[in-house]
Amino acid sequence: MTPTREILSVGLIFLCALVNLTRRQWLTNLIALALQYIGVFVLLQDVRPITMAFVPLFVGLMTTLTMLVTLIGSGKMQKPVFFEQVSMGEVFRAIAGLVAVIFVALLIPTIRREIFPTTGTFILLGSLGLVLLSLLQVGMMIEPLYITIGLLSMLSGFQLLYASLETSALLEALFVALNLGLGLVGAFFLVKQEDVVP
């Protein structure tokens, strides 16, 4: 793979994760999540055959779609406003996210040398950056959708890292179950308050 594609996919992953960290517009967040899975898919092709790399993408998009359909079904989906005034909270989260990305980028050579010598620089940067931004997200937000997106992103980042370390069909299957389960739990959070117990 050419470095340009890798750089672009890492950039896409970081951009999507930063959007999810800062903005609170459900449709925008779900689109960012879907694009993030595409970025991870591109990087995964470095260490997996395309058929295997396609599995997390397919599962991720299914999960995103599940939450989108749930939001539409529950009537909670709001029309996105793309040029809404930026709040101070969003500025703060964006700065925190950027600092985290810079922090990871500076540490990557050391981490690679000391811990993950067989993993490519861009995979390491993309995965660890995504994990850190997701951690910030789950730590800073309390709404169920954002926590679900944060956890899905964190799993996605970790899955990318682990794919560069070990190959196991059983583990891939467990990751699929985990992602789908998390998506369903996210959907459950979105509707359970309104749900009437029979």
Partner: protein
């Protein structure tokens, strides 16, 4: 040959999943889950050690292995005690669950959860269990926060912290693949050990990562919390022993067992003090979990003095106390209509619900390790072992225990104080019989531990490396 993993994993997973669409028929669902879990527990307890049964003139042999996607799931004879206990727990919490307003998915998901715990303990390589634990966390969400209820911060914290543990455990396993013979001071081993221990600290809610415990106890139904946390405590602590058993580098780390002793002691002390200072009864279960996990870690830490025996013997008495506590509390919530469990609201409880009050009192008294009650024989031995290692440990143990007794004194003062208002509730005959019966069992096991507890010591049978190296 019949595969053993299919019996204790495949069958309950299939039945539990198949029952999910039929949750409207709660009686049938609960009935099936109770019968299946009881049968699985009994079969696990009486299963022959040669893994073969002769019946109707034929010999049926059982295979402990099941190949799945190129990996193995292995249920050995030595694992059956843990498996039996997991299904006993599922049965005990299911057969009367119809009385309580728990999630409609309680029965099927509790069976699925038990099967997943067994999978977690059986999968090879066993580090993959980390992903299964996270799946169990997800399965438990509809139970902890049923439909129609508002979002709960404790649940989110639980979800986040439990998910965080998975990468730590998986990465530590990858780091250590094939370096079992490296010196224990190697930076790689120290790094991996830190990751493993941090992962377990997150899973087991070790102090100071325990904040979700009281929150979730407060937010969720006591019957659900006690079942889920009880199973989690058993499975994860046994899984921790798997690590010590499989990885020589971990058990040979300098000061690893003394460190576990100190962590356990801190948890007992902090848990006891938290119990004494809490203002809401529903939060208490979280602190009980903290204290009991502390006792288990202390027992593991005392492995060189024979602490593992007491580690195994702690579970059944502990589950009896959990059961009685949660039954009494759930009965007050769902039958007597209590919506709040602050100390103020429970004034004069004894005059309204004497049997349930006794149930609450006895369960805490037993967990404090009071003589005559179920946990006394085992905790007494743990106290003696800890004191023999370092007499200063007794001070910490005493603080934890005295704090619990102080709570009990306060509890008595509140429940025996003049009635605020008479509630319209008469304890049912069923509740009276159940509480009396369980209190009787708690006392009987406390007086005759040598009759009731020895079969459960086989819980530590799988850990031959750990036992042979250290004892």
């Amino acid at each position: 040959m019949i595969s053993m993993p299919l019996i204790w994993i495949g069958l309950p997973l299939l039945i539990g999943t198949a029952l999910i669409p039929f949750t409207r028929y709660r009686k049938i669902s609960i009935g099936i889950v109770s019968v299946v879990s009881l049968l699985l527990a009994i079969v696990a307890l009486i299963f022959p050690s040669n893994l073969a049964i002769e019946a109707f003139g034929r010999r049926y042999e059982f295979n402990p292995l099941l190949s799945l996607l190129g990996r193995l799931i292995q249920v050995d004879y030595s694992d059956l005690t843990t498996i039996a206990l997991l299904y006993v727990l599922t049965f005990a919490w299911n057969f009367i669950s119809l009385r309580f307003k728990v999630s409609q998915y309680f029965a099927p998901l509790s069976l699925v959860t038990a099967a997943l715990w067994v999978t977690m303990l059986s999968v090879e390589p066993f580090l993959y269990a980390a992903v299964i634990v996270t799946i169990i966390v997800l399965v438990s969400v509809p139970l902890i926060s049923p439909r129609g209820e508002t979002d709960q911060p404790g649940l989110f914290r639980y979800l986040i912290l439990q998910t965080l543990a998975k990468p730590l455990i998986l990465l530590s396993g990858w780091m250590l693949a094939g370096i079992g013979s490296a010196p224990s001071a190697s930076p790689l081993i120290i790094r991996a050990a830190v990751m493993v221990l941090l992962g377990f600290a997150l899973w087991l809610a070790v102090f100071p990562l325990h904040s979700w415990l009281p929150m979730i106890s407060f937010e969720s139904h006591p019957w659900v919390t006690s079942m889920l946390l009880g199973g989690r405590q058993l499975a994860l602590l046994v899984y921790l022993l798997h690590f010590f058993d499989q990885f020589a580098w971990l058990r040979n780390l300098p000061n690893i067992f003394p460190s576990l002793q100190i962590i356990g002691l801190i948890m007992i002390t902090i848990g006891g003090l938290s119990v004494a200072s809490t203002k809401d009864f529903k939060r208490l279960f979280g602190y009980f979990f903290l204290i009991e996990t502390g006792y288990s870690l202390l027992s593991i830490g005392l492995v060189t003095s024979g602490g593992l025996d007491y580690f195994a013997l702690l579970f059944v008495p502990r589950f009896l106390c959990y059961w009685l506590w949660s039954f009494s509390l759930a009965e007050l919530a769902d039958q007597a209509g209590f919506t709040e469990f602050s100390l103020e609201k429970l004034k004069g409880l004894f005059f309204n619900a004497p049997f349930l009050t006794v149930g609450l009192f006895v369960s805490v008294l037993a967990m404090a390790g009071a003589p005559v009650f179920v946990l006394f024989p085992v905790k007494r031995m743990v106290w003696m072992l800890a004191g023999s290692v370092d007499s200063r440990w007794l001070i910490l143990l005493a603080i934890g225990t005295i704090a619990m007794i102080a709570f009990l004194m306060n509890f008595l003062r509140i429940v025996l104080s003049p009635i605020n208002q008479k509630i319209n509730y008469n304890e049912s005959l069923f509740a009276k019989i159940v509480v009396s019966g369980v209190v009787l069992i708690i006392v009987m096991v406390g007086i005759f531990p040598h009759v009731f507890l020895p079969p459960w010591i086989h819980l530590i049978d799988p850990f031959t490396n750990l036992l042979s190296t250290l004892q």
